[in-house]
Symmetry: D3
Subunit: 238 residues, 6 copies
Amino acid sequence: MRPSGRTPEQPRDIRITRNYTRHAEGSVLVEFGDTKVICTASVENKVPPFMRGEGKGWITAEYGMLPRSTGSRMGREAARGKQGGRTVEIQRLIGRSLRAAVDLSALGEHTITIDCDVIQADGGTRTAAITGGCVALVDALNHLVKEKRLKSSPLKQMVAALSVGIYKGTPVTDLDYPEDSAAETDMNVIMTDRGGFIEIQGTAEGEPFAQDELESMLTLARQGIETLFEVQKAALAE
Amino acid sequence: MRPSGRTPEQPRDIRITRNYTRHAEGSVLVEFGDTKVICTASVENKVPPFMRGEGKGWITAEYGMLPRSTGSRMGREAARGKQGGRTVEIQRLIGRSLRAAVDLSALGEHTITIDCDVIQADGGTRTAAITGGCVALVDALNHLVKEKRLKSSPLKQMVAALSVGIYKGTPVTDLDYPEDSAAETDMNVIMTDRGGFIEIQGTAEGEPFAQDELESMLTLARQGIETLFEVQKAALAE
Amino acid sequence: MRPSGRTPEQPRDIRITRNYTRHAEGSVLVEFGDTKVICTASVENKVPPFMRGEGKGWITAEYGMLPRSTGSRMGREAARGKQGGRTVEIQRLIGRSLRAAVDLSALGEHTITIDCDVIQADGGTRTAAITGGCVALVDALNHLVKEKRLKSSPLKQMVAALSVGIYKGTPVTDLDYPEDSAAETDMNVIMTDRGGFIEIQGTAEGEPFAQDELESMLTLARQGIETLFEVQKAALAE
Amino acid sequence: MRPSGRTPEQPRDIRITRNYTRHAEGSVLVEFGDTKVICTASVENKVPPFMRGEGKGWITAEYGMLPRSTGSRMGREAARGKQGGRTVEIQRLIGRSLRAAVDLSALGEHTITIDCDVIQADGGTRTAAITGGCVALVDALNHLVKEKRLKSSPLKQMVAALSVGIYKGTPVTDLDYPEDSAAETDMNVIMTDRGGFIEIQGTAEGEPFAQDELESMLTLARQGIETLFEVQKAALAE
Amino acid sequence: MRPSGRTPEQPRDIRITRNYTRHAEGSVLVEFGDTKVICTASVENKVPPFMRGEGKGWITAEYGMLPRSTGSRMGREAARGKQGGRTVEIQRLIGRSLRAAVDLSALGEHTITIDCDVIQADGGTRTAAITGGCVALVDALNHLVKEKRLKSSPLKQMVAALSVGIYKGTPVTDLDYPEDSAAETDMNVIMTDRGGFIEIQGTAEGEPFAQDELESMLTLARQGIETLFEVQKAALAE
Amino acid sequence: MRPSGRTPEQPRDIRITRNYTRHAEGSVLVEFGDTKVICTASVENKVPPFMRGEGKGWITAEYGMLPRSTGSRMGREAARGKQGGRTVEIQRLIGRSLRAAVDLSALGEHTITIDCDVIQADGGTRTAAITGGCVALVDALNHLVKEKRLKSSPLKQMVAALSVGIYKGTPVTDLDYPEDSAAETDMNVIMTDRGGFIEIQGTAEGEPFAQDELESMLTLARQGIETLFEVQKAALAE
């Protein structure tokens, strides 16, 4: 029934490649099927002005799409002189989600910026970015330990994200673009590897969704995110 | 236990004043306690370029805060030359939510812009904006009927929004600013008067939230939103 | 003869409501008939970079119109990314006028920002903003005294503003929108309660105006502004 | 008493050089003493969108200062990405003033843009710009006649502008920079060669000004502007 | 002598991978050693306004660097709201160079945009972008033929680019970042596969360069670019 | 053969007028025939943030064109809110070129900004700007010596620039606008008075250019630039 032939509860092939580029403290290529995002984590020895002197760190994120990561070319945001509303919304979500992974007090006055740049899009770029960005973040935290700038990693828990939705009346996991653009409801679920929710964003694109549909989607999300944590851990074990 | 002395399931006083200013096709002052938002609905005889010729209408929203609607003055976005990320995120949410209220095909090639301007903020401005904006929208749709530009109102259902959250371990309804800034979890729930969900956005500000906390919050939201629909209907009956 | 039925020398009903919103050090709703402007005065413990270390204070103003304060919706300046020329011109005038009310040396290194936001427009928004803004300013100065941040109020004099013009050949006071858009000459007069002029801006919209017309308008302005000072004082006495 | 040794009613040397650069339909260098402004008038065969189809023309102005036209270098507005408030205020004044010189209905659907670029500043740049800009405008109108795009010039009257002020208690004419920066009151007066006022902008920089001071300044302005009309006419006669 | 151990006339390993991403009409990953650039070619059925109706096509380019493509993170241009001077300079060079490859009259009213996004930088990003971008362009032209939108490819000639310079007194080919940042002279040479020059940009970073040094650099460039044409042709033959 | 009747190796009349305006530390009007550029050099007692504390100085340049310096009016960059790509490219070239004239270590922590504003354009504005800007720079350096802020001038060498090109198959010197817009190849050559090259930028506008054409153009450039150094020296001797 799904355009890709997957079963409703089947995510796409998830791949995480560490050390994808060489300059960043953490650098990951994350692939959710044909969705490919480069996630880098960059460390700076300072925090934003509103946090100075508190002894705490900060995690923030920026998101972009290469102009031709999509089926038709999108104007380059740098050339238009502003980031679009969707970009702003997504990068705020990524930043909030990844801050939940880290004990900011133990991070000290460092800022880690997670840049998520989509080089090929096929739905689910924000969930891929969070899932891959968390691995880049772990690498950057370990880098701080290795360089003796921190005594131990301030990582509290792993964070991963998955989209679920109602497609042609059926709850499905990890929507690709053909499903995403036709789904009745789309929900992004961000969880920790301890089973808690960091964020839930469910949106009815057409008809409102009911309580039982919400529960079905949450069940799918919890199952699918288990897979993501396994892929993250396998990548970090390499 | 709540700073305001309310019980956990008790929303603030909700007031909706129609015809608050005189130029707009719909103009509402909505008050959730000390949160006050002017919502106007403006009709234009055209649609955005990407929709031209399809015979359908469009609903969009813009959001702003007066610089001193808050405890300390915020820089004016017009003077800084761009809308902040929070503003963009909120106005996209308002627009998505209110589009769910209307049969866009029956609206014809009109655009209705809902401007939500906060004149005094005390938490929950986005949920107040959606709840009041829906009443302004109904007035604008009825104006089109009265002016014989539409045969009947394309209103499908009423839409209202309420925030719920976990404050000091307890699920509570309609958080004010002191609660909002200290809550462990904050969730905005947008529903229709037929009982369906339009959007759910739940965010753990500190610790992740669990499935049973999610369910408690949703139960509070469903109850509280009933009150909002009553206030909307009473206002429209005047 | 006037569309509103007023006599040439008759201003509209002028109302000033103090403590209109609760966060600002001064907060006023000023109404010149159907023109309604929220004026807030916000105090900061610093001055602009070019004044630092001089021991003097600064008064500045910002002006905005809600998008649907007018008959047809105006684009939101924050969304367009810049303030229009008219906005800039008006907020500079308000700032200059209100600086004349205060002994800046006695103010110390504080900045007071007067935000004037038009929620409903019917002509004369800049004169209403100056007249109401002066009351908000007085409240903010008194707040500084009450909080013992200043020993006494550095207020030198009250400032008020009124528009006068030539409408269908007759000099008239306090033009509303139908008059303003058809007037041959429009003049804004800003005075102190000691009878001096702070600023005069007279513009021929159609034919040039003559010396005797100028004198007639100035006479009307002096008379009408007396009323404004009475309304200001009554409001401050409450 | 004046820093320049001039008598109170004595303007600076006023010089107008036509055909200063070769591309524009009108091109003038205007000098008020050491204040030097290049004024060009450019004709386009179209009007702004809000005027299309009305058969009327439009006059508009833009103003700029070379970064080192002043004593210390000012940042380039093009590099900062926006025009400052003073620039906006001045170019709106120039545009309004010069529109008064022309019968816009007789101009047909042409736009004439007057660019006023200050290459050396010593006070009074806006009055120099209006006075020189009017000559550039006349040349552009005559160019349209010569090219048979108009049957006769739609010029209604000449327009010129002069600053007057109260300097050390004395009313003086055509303030230079040392006077302008120390004056108690500064007033710009724009008149037609038929004796009418186009615009009056008087501002108390320090103490308010009184009715009799206003009258003295207006008298000086009327006298001084006579000289400007003579210089304009002599330049046009060459 | 060179940090990389290369001989003066030895370029880095050059790799061109076609079909790197799946949406664009041409998509190439080009690698000059550790410099990696994604070049996509996107076809649109229209030309810029200034060319409409002439029956000719247009080739343009945009350039960007991922924020952490470099040793320390650069601010994202989309977030800063403008493209930097270096970006503008480079994308204009790429566009001019690639226009030389194509008979624009034979292209018809199509625009092809070459997006060059640097994912890892180690010197020579603009020359890599031109060399890889030309292959993406060829693929896009062939795509138009295959889709029968053009009868035959309007390709006139291949274009490739290489940097040469004077490093520690010796002329060298294809500078990497350690060389580039220390070179006395840096020259970018863009040639066609017929042996003509498209553009030469030589800049003395320290001391001026002499005629004989210029000639040595041009000789190196001509030799090295031969290699680039071979790599391009091998890639296109796959 | 040339539209102006000049021989191929003949530059236009070159004129340099010092002390053109009175405020800047260096102020020059440079004319290459009908191309007229005002170049001012402004000294500040500080350097950009990235250079602070190094004890070295900085030279930078900004470039602008008056809107009607050209045959048809160009939009004002300050009004459009950004500098165009061509402007950015040119001002970076001027800055790089003039930095080569000065020993930045001997300049101490001063910034000299060269503003080049075109008041009339007829081709070759960037080469005129460099040639005239160098004279303004020398005056500013001498000013620092005269004011005892430097012991001796840190000038290393004079810098001048000339355009050469291939026009109708013939190499020519100092192209004016009619030649520039029709030339097959356009090359800007920046040299020092000791005979070294600072920058070479040659661009094929139509067909690629060959090695021997490059050599012919360089020969013309070397000859023509001799004339420029003579004019610079004569101006400085006055």
